[in-house]
Structures are given as structure tokens and as C-alpha cells.
């Protein structure tokens, strides 16, 4: 595995403490740079090893230490993968010291070669980074010799921001280096080669190799659940149990579960074995041309999938390179694309996609993007904007928008007529990762303190560039003058659950009376039967009313049974069950008011509200809000501790955004497999 080693040599001698008034000393700068750098390495989880050697220390600790040579040099840490321990040591154990190491470069070289020998690994790349203000005595002749020596030893020497660096070309300036270090490393992944054959018909095939070129990168690690007290993962266990949808929620053993699939309203039992036998199978890995079509007929907004694959000729195959080049150039000249069947391997589902020609100065390739299947498309029709006089902008309005666009162009031509893009998204590191690492780092080195605010440089990269913001002011003002935009008052058409149940809302009074009658009948029938002994799951609200009327159980007991039922129903997270739950809550309220006992109900409802976020009951709560099922106020029941206003306010929660049903990432068939195995 490719691996590199890096030796950080930090000068901590007295010369590093000199600084002008109000300036950060070279020592502090160097320390900050090292911290940032190590941080990056830790979160990038590279396998690269790192050693830290300090120069100018009061004590001496290094393998070459003898008598008067190699004094005041401390190998603080031998080559190994950097970790938080190192970060803590840098934070707490490295201070400016009072010695000066002589001939720092000679010594650096020798020490570093030795330090390097401490590792057992074969290294691909060796780097030495020196952090010093270079005030240590060294002649520049000498420096050239040293650099030459290093080159021969195949070691790269880099300077991180000393203040008076020797003038050698091509090294980053101080500011730049620091800015780069601010960011955590971008996620890097070793490209996986996908060798295959591009086929056109049965007789023509070209050896190719594909690489994922663009894809939404995810972090390698995810959050684990740990016990809050012990912080141990092993103390927490998650378990899934299965139960029947009956009153007792009878638990079912895993062995007694078979799988089925929904076919509309039918559930078809379909064993794993049958499924395996009957499922779609194919020949595996494939990149076969179905035909060619005009580039313009493949619309950009129809791109599917989550990646772009670049297709190159097979490795070390000149003939394949020529053949593929012919195809790439032919497509380019004809402005066409290949429509292909693509299958990664036997286990994954085949796709249809387009292979675009891509010709760059230094390389040629095909770029493959997945296209939709018929089943993926939703044909939505939207009202025309042009044919609608209400929405047609006037010429004045159009010209205001015109100037806004002109003032906000992010691509400009400089004096040489070269285009300059001042906002390149693909140069911005994913802010989510940057922020996460920042917070993790903070928590690790400053335990017990609140998380920090976002770093200002990160915030700035997400904002509209300052130049643009200033330049567009007048155009923006013009738009504000020319267009009228008014927030529409939210008059949410309230749907009551009566409507949801399909009852006509046009005739509320009469209907209601009828309902009450029906209710009465029901209850009479129940009492006559005397069959209700507990709140069942079929019609819990009715059972509840009956039980209260029967008075065989205490009010508290019946309420407890009811709330237990509600919890069960809500556990299902489906509208049908929500509706049932609402009738329960309503019955609970109605009976509580009737009996003049508001406490049980009110405390239950408050508990319910507090559990919304954790239980994911947002949509249920919205239903409750619409039906206006709130706390029982003192107006309704004497002794209630809730005022009318409080009751009204109770239903006002912060607006809950609808979590749209975005499907999770493509699990594909492999995941199906996993799911089946787990079953």
C-alpha cells in the first residue's frame, strides 16, 4: 500500500520567541501550523506516518546523542500514524526553550534518516518539513548543498512558514500555506479500476477500464450509539422484535416469519428461494452499445444515478487506445452519444445510460451517466407561465432582471480576454465535513465545553462574493421597486377529522346530532352485552367510553389503558392509525371534561407533545392541531391549571417542515441480498 512518511522538524530554540510587539511569535505560528496539520492528518485517517523532532530543546534525546554532537535535539515522537495523543502533547508539552541547535540542516538530515529507520514499513514518499525562522546560523551555500543531498536521498524538503525563508522558488507563501491548512483534507479515495469491454454488436469489442470520476462522497465513519453514562458502545443494544397486529401485540419469533411482497393491495408470500430462482438474472459485467443518438436528445436534467464514470482504454493496450479514440472522436465530430447497457457486475442491476465523448488537451475518454427508466419518470404538467397575463412581466420588469443578471455574473473576462470564474463550486470543500471535523476536534481537545461557532473562513466560502454583493445593490433595488411581492397570509384550510372520515361538512349541526344519537345507541348496545372489560384495539374510543360509564374500573385505570392503546397505535406511524389515535384523544378529552377531571388528560397531552421530536410524530401532531384538540382549560373544567390562552398557545409549535420522501441512497441488489440474509 502506498504510504508516505513525514518528519516535522520544529525549531523551538530561543530565536523562535522573538517577535515584534503585537506580532505572533514564530514559535506560536509554527505550533499553530503543526496543530492544524496534524489535525488534518488525524481526520483524513491517512495511513501516512509522522514524526516530530524538536530542535533547540534544553534537553537532548535522540539516537545520535553522543558527547557534544547532536545536542539540544529531541525526537519527540517516532514515525507513526498521528492521533489525538500527539495533538494533546503538542498542545500541552511543547514550549519555547532556550537553546539553539547548530547547523540545523545537516543535523536534520542525519536525524531524520535515522528516525526513518525506526519504521518497519516501506515508504513511497519521504518528506521533511522544517519549521524555523532560519535565524540559526547557516550559510546559503551550505543550504544548496544540503538540498542537493536531500534530493539524492529522494527526500523532499519543504518549509512551512518560517518568517525569513531562503528564497527558493515554487514554495507556498505563508498566508497560502496557512489557508490551506485551515481546511480539513478533502476526502480522497483510491480510484478503483473497472476493467471491461465496450461492445458494438457481437463482433466489435474494445478493452476499456472505467473509473468513478464524480460521486457524492460520504464520510467513511458514521455515528455510533453509546451509553450516556459509560460512553460504551457495548452497553447499548438495539433489538427488533416482530409482533402481530392484534390487541396483545403477540410477539412472533423470527423463525416464524416468512417474506412476501406487495402487489398493490395483495401481499404475495414469496420465499427467498423462489425469489432467487425467479428473479431477473443477467450475464454480469457489461458495457454494450445499444445504438447512437444525437447529444441534444439526451437532456441534462434527465441524468440519473449518483455518479459519472470515465471510460479509458484498457491498461497498457495501445490498440484499445486507438480503437476507443476513434469512437470518442467520431462521437465528438458527429455530436452524438452512445446509449449503452451498463452492468457493474453480476450482482448489480443493469442500467441504461449515455456515454459522452470527452476530449481534453491531455486526455480523451468517454463519460458515462445513467439515464432514466420509464418507471422512474413522473410526468407532471405545470400551468403555462407565458400564457398567463397575470404572471407576464412588463418590459420594465424584464429589463430590471436583465441588469440584475449583468451585475451578478460570476464569470468575467480579465484584461487578457481570459475568462475568470470567481466562484468555483468544485474547489469548495464540503462544508458539512469541515464543520463536523471542527466540532469533533473541539470536543476531543476541549471536553465539557459547548461546540464552537462555524469558522469564519468556512462561512465566507458559502456566501455570495463581496464584489458581487456590492455590484448588484442598485439592480436589486430596482427589482424591489418594479416587482410587488407580498407574503400570503396563511389561511390554512382546516381539514377536520370529520372531513377526513368522509363525512360531509356542509351540514354540521344536523349531522352531529345524528352522530351523537348513533354514539348513544352503540353504548347502549355495549352495556346490554356487558362485553367490554378493557380498552381493546378495534375501537378503543368506544371501549373507553363504555368502561367509564360502567364504572367497574377507576377513571385512572381506564385512562391508563387508553393511553397505552394510543401509544401502540402511534407506534405504527401511519395515517390510518393516527386517525384512530385522534378519536381516542378526543374521547379522552370529552370524558375528562364530562367528569370534571382535567389533570390526567392535560398531563398526558403535554407528555405527548414533548415526545413528538423523538417519536417522529410531527404529522400526527399536525392532525391534532387541525382538529383543535388542545388542553382542557379552566373555563371548561374548574380546577384545571391551564388558562384559556395557554390552551390555545399549546397547539402552536414551531412549524414542522415536511420531511419529503426522498429515497435513501441506491441500495441496489446487493443490499437486497443483505436484507434477505438478515431476515
Amino acid at each position: 500500500m502506498a504510504k508516505s512518511a513525514l518528519i516535522l522538524c520544529m525549531d523551538v530554540g530561543f530565536n523562535m520567541s522573538n517577535s515584534g510587539p503585537g506580532e505572533e511569535s514564530p514559535f506560536d505560528q509554527a505550533k499553530r501550523v503543526i496543530q492544524k496539520f496534524v489535525q488534518r492528518q488525524v481526520f483524513a485517517e491517512t495511513k501516512d506516518e509522522l514524526a516530530l523532532v524538536l530542535f533547540g530543546t534544553d534537553s537532548t534525546k535522540n539516537p545520535l546523542d553522543n558527547d557534544d554532537q547532536y545536542q539540544n535535539i529531541t525526537v519527540h515522537r517516532n514515525l507513526m500514524v498521528p492521533d489525538f495523543k500527539l495533538l494533546e502533547e503538542i498542545e500541552n508539552q511543547i514550549h519555547p526553550e532556550s537553546q539553539q541547535a547548530d547547523c540545523i540542516f545537516d543535523i536534520a538530515l542525519n536525524v531524520c534518516v535515522l528516525v526513518e529507520n525506526t519504521t518497519i514499513h516501506k515508504l513511497d514518499r519521504r518528506n521533511i518539513v522544517l519549521l524555523t525562522d532560519l535565524n540559526s546560523p547557516v550559510s546559503s551555500d551550505n543550504l544548496d548543498v544540503i538540498i542537493e543531498n536531500l534530493k539524492q536521498a529522494d527526500i523532499t524538503l519543504q518549509f512551512l512558514p518560517g518568517q525569513k525563508r531562503p528564497r527558493t522558488e515554487g514554495r507556498p507563501g505563508h498566508g497560502e500555506a496557512h489557508h490551506q491548512l485551515c481546511m480539513f483534507k478533502r476526502i480522497e479515495r483510491r480510484p478503483m479500476a473497472w476493467p471491461c469491454q465496450l461492445t458494438i454488436g457481437s463482433a466489435l469489442s474494445i478493452r476499456i477500464v472505467g473509473y468513478k470520476a464524480v460521486t457524492e462522497e460520504k464520510l467513511k465513519k458514521s455515528w455510533k450509539t453509546v451509553d450516556a453514562q459509560t460512553n460504551q458502545k457495548d452497553d447499548v443494544k438495539r433489538e427488533t422484535v416482530y409482533c402481530l397486529d392484534d390487541d396483545n401485540e403477540t410477539e412472533v419469533q423470527k423463525e416464524d416469519i416468512i417474506q412476501g411482497f406487495r402487489y398493490g393491495s395483495d401481499i404475495v408470500p414469496f420465499s427467498k428461494v423462489d425469489q432467487e430462482q425467479m428473479k431477473y438474472t443477467h450475464d454480469g459485467k457489461c458495457f454494450a452499445v445499444l445504438g447512437f443518438t444525437k447529444q441534444s436528445s439526451v437532456q441534462r436534467h434527465r441524468f440519473m444515478g449518483t455518479q459519472v464514470i470515465k471510460i479509458f482504454p484498457g491498461k497498457d493496450d495501445e490498440h484499445a487506445a486507438v480503437a476507443l479514440s476513434a469512437l470518442i472522436q467520431a462521437l465528438h465530430e458527429l455530436q452524438m452519444v452512445a446509449i449503452v447497457r451498463y452492468a457493474y457486475d453480476r450482482r448489480s442491476n443493469p442500467q441504461v445510460g449515455a456515454a459522452f465523448p470527452c476530449i481534453k488537451q491531455d486526455h480523451e475518454c468517454l463519460m458515462y451517466v445513467q439515464l432514466p427508466f420509464m418507471e422512474d419518470l413522473r410526468h407532471f404538467t405545470f400551468p403555462s407561465l407565458e400564457n398567463n397575463s397575470k404572471f407576464t412581466p412588463s418590459d420594465e420588469q424584464l429589463s430590471a432582471v436583465d441588469s440584475l443578471i449583468d451585475s451578478m455574473m460570476l464569470v468575467e473576462e480579465d484584461e487578457d480576454g481570459k475568462q475568470k470564474d470567481i466562484f468555483k463550486v468544485h474547489d469548495i470543500p464540503n462544508p458539512a465535513f469541515q464543520r463536523l471535523f471542527q466540532c469533533l476536534h473541539h470536543r476531543a481537545v476541549n471536553p465539557g465545553t459547548p461546540l464552537p461557532a462555524m469558522e469564519s473562513w468556512l462561512k465566507a466560502t458559502l456566501e455570495c462574493p463581496e464584489v458581487i454583493r456590492e455590484r448588484c445593490q442598485s439592480a436589486l433595488g430596482e427589482i424591489k421597486n418594479k416587482f410587488t411581492l407580498t407574503q400570503v397570509e396563511k389561511k390554512k384550510k382546516l381539514k377536520t377529522s370529520a372531513q377526513i372520515f368522509g363525512k360531509d361538512s356542509d351540514e354540521p349541526e344536523a349531522k352531529k346530532a345524528k352522530e351523537d344519537e348513533a354514539d348513544e345507541e352503540f353504548n347502549l348496545a355495549d352495556i346490554a352485552e356487558g362485553s367490554v372489560t378493557s380498552v381493546g384495539s378495534v375501537d378503543p374510543a368506544r371501549d373507553f367510553r363504555t368502561l367509564i360509564r360502567q364504572k367497574t374500573l377507576t377513571f385512572e385505570e381506564v385512562c391508563k389503558q387508553l393511553t397505552h392503546r394510543i401509544e401502540q397505535l402511534l407506534g405504527n406511524k401511519s395515517t390510518d392509525y393516527y386517525m384512530k389515535s385522534i378519536t381516542c384523544v378526543e374521547a379522552f378529552r370529552e370524558q375528562s371534561v364530562k367528569l370534571g377531571n382535567a389533570d390526567l388528560y392535560n398531563s398526558y397531552l403535554q407528555l405527548l407533545k414533548s415526545s413528538i421530536p423523538t417519536q417522529g410524530l410531527e404529522s400526527f401532531w399536525e392532525l391534532l392541531v387541525q382538529d383543535g384538540v388542545t388542553l382542557i382549560s379552566e373555563d371548561e373544567v374548574e380546577g384545571s391549571t391551564v388558562t384559556r390562552n395557554e390552551a390555545r398557545q399549546f397547539l402552536v409549535t414551531e412549524r414542522i417542515e415536511e420531511a419529503a420522501a426522498h429515497p435513501a441512497e441506491d441500495p441496489g441488489d446487493v443490499d437486497d441480498l443483505v436484507r434477505i440474509v438478515l431476515l
Binding site: V81, N231, Y242, I267, T306, Q351, M374, L385, T484, F501
Partner: protein, 590 residues
């Protein structure tokens, strides 16, 4: 504009097919072309099966009017036949509809339905009852009338008026009524009667009424399909142009990868679906853990770092949901390969901020004219980190039959961050000569075809549903699925003829075989390595400890790590390398 604001609540969509069953519907077209009734049943079947795949929770009903026989709750209405009441479509229903197709179908229809006098008023009333009998929350209610008769009551004013009243009652309760008018000799004059029955179109264009009657099955499919799917915004947010200048917009997912649905777990004894409950509890005490009793953790640099659950959310939150304009760029700056997920569609929400549609429309027009796209920062949902997106203008496009092909609005293209673009080692390439390129151009030209985005069915999903269909309906064998994304090799070979050999002669040497594997460098499977491999797995416990100390476990292979876990008695369920490493580190580094 009444449909501008759908309630954003969960609920079922519903669709009622109200089909004219008069004798005119059964008249066959010229040259034995299928009758209007036959075509309608074909479309109904397609909708049934596509709903089963894409949204099986939707409710569908099939009602006939102008029948001789009647079938409806309590038989209140004469000459109205409820073939299917509002319910989820299933295998049986697909079969039922199939039975009404073709020659045999016409016969069955004549027997069971028969032709009689029509009262659209009664039919609509009956449909209204179907809706109100539903004990579920309905979010979208649509009713499609299929007919080839412009005046169902032959000019009977009383019946016409009654139908109009019932139609407006239905519309009042939120039902959208569409007319799918079918071809009849002399054309179909919508203004004679149906203009007052159907719901007005969403815009002023009266698009719906200008439509020609459907003559071909294709047109009919297209028109029904355009109406049958309820568009629903996945998010409603503001597009901020700067300085508090907000345009309300909705995001619509117009292409979503359809997947084989996950299996349902059933109880072996009764085939009833079981529910799953997941609980988090303490391993030692066995007591359930409340959200406040657990934390989240990640391990970096050999250190486990803990956060509260709400801190995890806090880290993800950058801003409230919304689109924020950064500026504009010329279209050519939008690179083809900047693709990380399917795009979504953006359309103004006049119902949220009045004036949005006008400014949106101006923006759309100007972006399109100037050939630029708008670059925005996008947070679509709460606690989502930001993504940058390109808003690419799309002008409205209609086909010859005036059916919308492309709606007006912006396509939202998600752009990659630096992390998402991988660095590849570019192989050295040899370019082809013009002669070689020209030969390939001949090949490409021979295999030209017109690509349509809806031309390919997903064979995996189709096969899955055919299997289910066969099992559900006790068929002997599932219907064959044609794999449309399989290259038609014979056809291609025939079309290319000698071109392939000519090209190969130009680019490949005589003894070259692209099918053969390149000289395998890595595996030495032939040297009887089986016996030798084993010892490799063994790494001494001391060595492992050294690796743990140095944080170099990653150097070891997965089998070695697994073996190490066994040796140290580390329990792990993970199989991924990182999981194994984490497990070992957890155990040994402390």
C-alpha cells in the same frame, strides 16, 4: 388556482375512472382499429399496473355510466355500474379489467353492463358517494370522464342541469374533474355540454379544452398519464435574490429511481403482516434507554469523541431551508460531468408569496435569453447541510397535440464539492488517425436511433412484478419480460455488415484479441498456493499489539484482522475493514 396549495399532509390520492358504456363507445374504428371502449380499458389497465408499482397506496375506482344494468351501493342509481369501488389496485382488479378488453371483453361488457340510457348527474352523484364512503384521509381527488358523446343526454335540459349541479358539488369538495374525450365522427365539441362539467385548467390557456379528441391509444395514454400523477412539491422554500427579496418556489422530483420494494414480513401461520418494533436497551440491566440516556460517538485518531443527539443535529444545521442566489454563469460553465444526483424541478408558488410567478417568469425568460444559469446555495430541508445548485432555465414545450412535454421552470442541477471530484491517474492515450475516426463515424451513423427517455423499462422491476402477478393470480408461469436494454446484437451485426472488419483492420493487428484477458500480473493461483496462504493469516498477538500502538492496523488484510479478533476474543458483527479495526482498537488500545 385552487390547486396551487395542496395540503402538505399525508393522505391518499384517489382517482375515479368514469367510463361511458353506451353503444357508441363499442363501435370499432376503421380497419378493425380498437373501439373507444377497448382503448379506454387498455389505459385503465396501464394505470392500474403502474400504480401498483409506483404508488400502490393510491385508491382507484372504475365506474360505468349509460349501462343497462345497475350496480351501486343500495342500488340508488339506475344505469350506473360500479365495477370497482375506491380501493387500492390489486391483482384481481387487473384481471377484472383485462376481462373487459378485446373482442371477448366487448361480449362480457354487453352481458354484465349492457347499454342503456345515460344520466351523468346520477353517475357523478354515485361517484360523490364513493368518495364520502372512504374512511381514509384523501389528499387528492381526481375524476376522469371517458366518453365519445358530446351530449350524453341528447339535449335533455333537465338532465344536463342536474349533471352540472352534481359536477359543481363534486368540484366544491375538492374533486378535480377531467374530460378525456374520444374520437367520434364529426369531431367532439366540448362547448356543447362538458365545458361546464370539467374543472377549469390551472392557467388561463384553456389548454384542456383546446385539445383534440384522442384518436390513438398513444395519445390517450399520454394524456391520462399527464393527469394521473399528482404533482407534489417535495419542499416549498424561498429563493432569495439578496437583501430579503424572496420568491416562493416549490421543488418537484420529476425523476425518482424506481426500486424493487422491500419485502413485507409475514407470520408463517396466517400470512398476515407483522409489525416490527425496534428498541434500544441497556445491555447489562436490560432496561429501555430513553433518548436522554444515549449519546452519539465517533472515533478518530484512537479517541472516541461523544456528542449529544441534538449536538449532532446542530452540527448539520447551517441555515434555515432555502435557496440563496450567488450569481449567474454562462451555460457553457455547467460541465457535463458535474453530476451527483438526479435534478429536481423548480416552479413558483404564487400561493405562498404573491408576485412570485411574475418575478420567476421574468428570471426564467432572461436567463434563457442570455443563456445563463443561476448559481444558488440550496438547503432543501431542515438540518440539511448546504449544496450548491445550478438553476437551468427550461422553456415550456408542447407537442403537436398540445400536450405539455416540458413544463416552464428551472431544472435544479446539484453540483459537486471538491471532495466529490476524484483525482484520476490519466493513462497516456494514443489518438486515432482521421481514417480510423471516419470508419467509426460510418459505424456510428449506421446505428443511429431516436432516443426517448421513457423508451426503456427496467427489466429487474418488470420481472419482479410479473412474478408477483403470476403468484397472485395463480398463473402457470409469469408473463415474459422483454429486456429492452439488451443490445439487439443480430440486428446491429446485420446493419454494420463488413464495416466491423474494416474498422478492426484499421485499428487492431492481426493477432490481437480484445476479448482475451491482459497478461495477469497479480494472481499466482496456479502455484498451489492454497497451502501456503494459510500461515499468512497468522499474525502473532504481539505483532497485533504493536500495530494497535502504532495505529497501523490498516496495513493488515481483512482475513488477518478477523483472525486477530478471534485470538483476542473481540466480539464484532462487522465485516468491513474499518469495523474490524475499530473493534480491535476499542478492545486493545485502552
Amino acid at each position: 388556482t385552487q390547486n396551487y396549495r395542496e395540503e402538505r399532509l399525508t393522505g391518499r390520492d384517489s382517482l375515479v375512472f368514469l367510463v361511458d358504456a353506451s353503444k357508441e363507445m363499442f363501435i370499432k374504428g376503421e380497419d378493425g382499429a380498437p373501439s373507444n371502449f377497448d382503448m379506454t380499458m387498455q389505459v385503465v389497465r396501464t394505470v392500474y399496473t403502474s400504480k401498483i408499482i409506483s404508488s400502490h397506496r393510491d385508491l382507484i375506482a372504475l365506474v360505468f355510466y349509460g349501462t343497462e344494468h345497475s350496480k351501486n351501493p343500495n342500488d340508488t342509481f339506475k344505469h350506473v355500474y360500479v365495477y370497482h369501488d375506491l380501493d387500492e389496485p390489486g391483482a384481481k382488479r387487473v384481471q377484472d379489467v383485462d376481462a373487459l378488453r378485446g373482442e371477448k371483453g366487448a361480449k362480457l361488457a354487453a352481458e354484465t353492463l349492457g347499454c342503456g340510457p345515460s344520466s351523468l348527474g346520477d353517475a357523478l352523484w354515485c361517484c360523490a358517494n364513493l368518495y364520502s364512503d372512504i374512511k381514509l384521509r384523501l389528499s387528492h381527488k381526481r375524476l376522469m370522464i371517458f366518453t365519445c358523446r358530446e351530449q350524453p343526454h341528447g339535449g335533455d335540459n333537465v338532465k344536463d342541469r342536474q349533471a352540472r349541479t352534481k359536477a359543481s358539488d363534486l368540484k366544491e369538495t375538492g374533486v378535480v374533474i377531467d374530460l378525456i374525450h374520444l374520437m367520434k365522427p364529426g369531431g367532439f365539441d366540448v362547448s356543447l355540454f362538458f365545458r361546464d362539467i370539467v374543472s377549469p385548467p390551472e392557467d388561463e390557456s384553456e389548454l384542456g379544452l383546446q385539445l383534440e379528441p384522442c384518436e390513438k391509444l398513444d395519445d390517450l395514454q399520454k394524456r391520462v398519464r399527464a393527469k394521473e400523477q399528482k404533482k407534489r412539491a417535495t419542499a416549498r422554500i424561498n429563493l432569495c435574490l439578496g437583501d430579503g427579496l424572496n420568491v416562493a418556489v416549490g421543488l418537484y422530483a420529476t425523476a425518482v429511481t424506481a426500486r424493487k420494494p422491500p419485502p413485507v414480513k409475514l407470520y408463517r401461520e396466517s400470512n398476515e403482516a407483522v409489525r416490527s418494533k425496534t428498541r434500544t436497551f441497556h445491555t447489562q440491566t436490560g432496561s429501555l434507554l430513553l433518548p436522554s440516556e444515549i449519546k452519539k460517538a465517533q472515533t478518530y485518531g484512537k479517541k472516541q469523541i461523544e456528542m449529544e443527539k441534538d449536538e449532532v443535529d446542530f452540527i448539520k444545521k447551517f441555515d434555515d431551508p432555502g435557496l440563496v442566489l450567488m450569481g449567474f454563469k454562462p451555460m457553457e460553465k455547467l460541465k457535463l460531468h458535474h453530476h451527483i444526483k438526479p435534478s429536481v424541478f423548480l416552479y413558483p408558488e404564487e400561493g405562498e408569496i404573491k408576485g412570485s410567478a411574475c418575478l420567476f417568469s421574468a428570471l426564467l425568460k432572461k436567463c434563457s435569453e442570455k443563456n445563463v444559469y443561476a448559481l444558488c446555495r440550496c438547503i432543501a430541508r431542515r438540518n440539511n447541510p448546504p449544496r450548491f445548485v445550478a438553476l437551468v432555465p427550461q422553456n415550456e414545450e408542447v407537442d403537436d397535440a398540445k400536450v405539455q412535454i416540458n413544463p416552464p421552470g428551472f431544472n435544479v442541477i446539484y453540483l459537486p464539492y471538491a471532495d466529490d471530484v476524484r483525482t484520476l491517474d490519466l493513462p497516456r492515450c494514443t489518438s486515432a488517425s482521421q481514417e480510423q475516426v471516419d470508419k467509426m463515424k460510418d459505424i456510428v451513423t449506421k446505428l443511429r436511433f431516436k432516443y426517448k427517455s421513457d423508451a426503456f423499462e427496467n427489466p429487474v422491476i418488470q420481472k419482479h412484478y410479473r412474478n408477483l402477478e403470476a403468484l397472485a393470480l395463480d398463473m402457470m408461469a409469469p408473463e415474459e419480460v422483454e429486456d429492452l436494454i439488451m443490445p439487439k446484437v443480430e440486428q446491429i451485426d446485420r446493419r454494420l455488415g463488413s464495416l466491423v472488419d474494416e474498422f478492426k483492420n484499421l485499428v487492431y493487428p492481426a493477432n490481437y484479441n480484445p476479448e482475451s484477458k491482459p497478461a495477469a500480473k497479480r494472481k499466482t493461483a496456479d502455484s498451489g498456493g492454497g497451502a501456503e496462504k494459510k500461515p499468512k493469516v497468522e499474525v502473532s498477538m504481539d505483532q497485533i499489539k504493536v500495530h494497535v500502538q502504532n495505529g497501523t492496523l490498516g496495513k493488515l488484510t481483512v482475513p488477518v484482522l478477523k483472525e486477530a479478533c478471534k485470538q483476542f476474543g473481540v466480539r464484532t458483527t462487522g465485516t468491513k475493514k474499518q469495523e474490524l479495526i475499530d473493534a480491535l482498537m476499542d478492545q486493545l488500545s485502552s
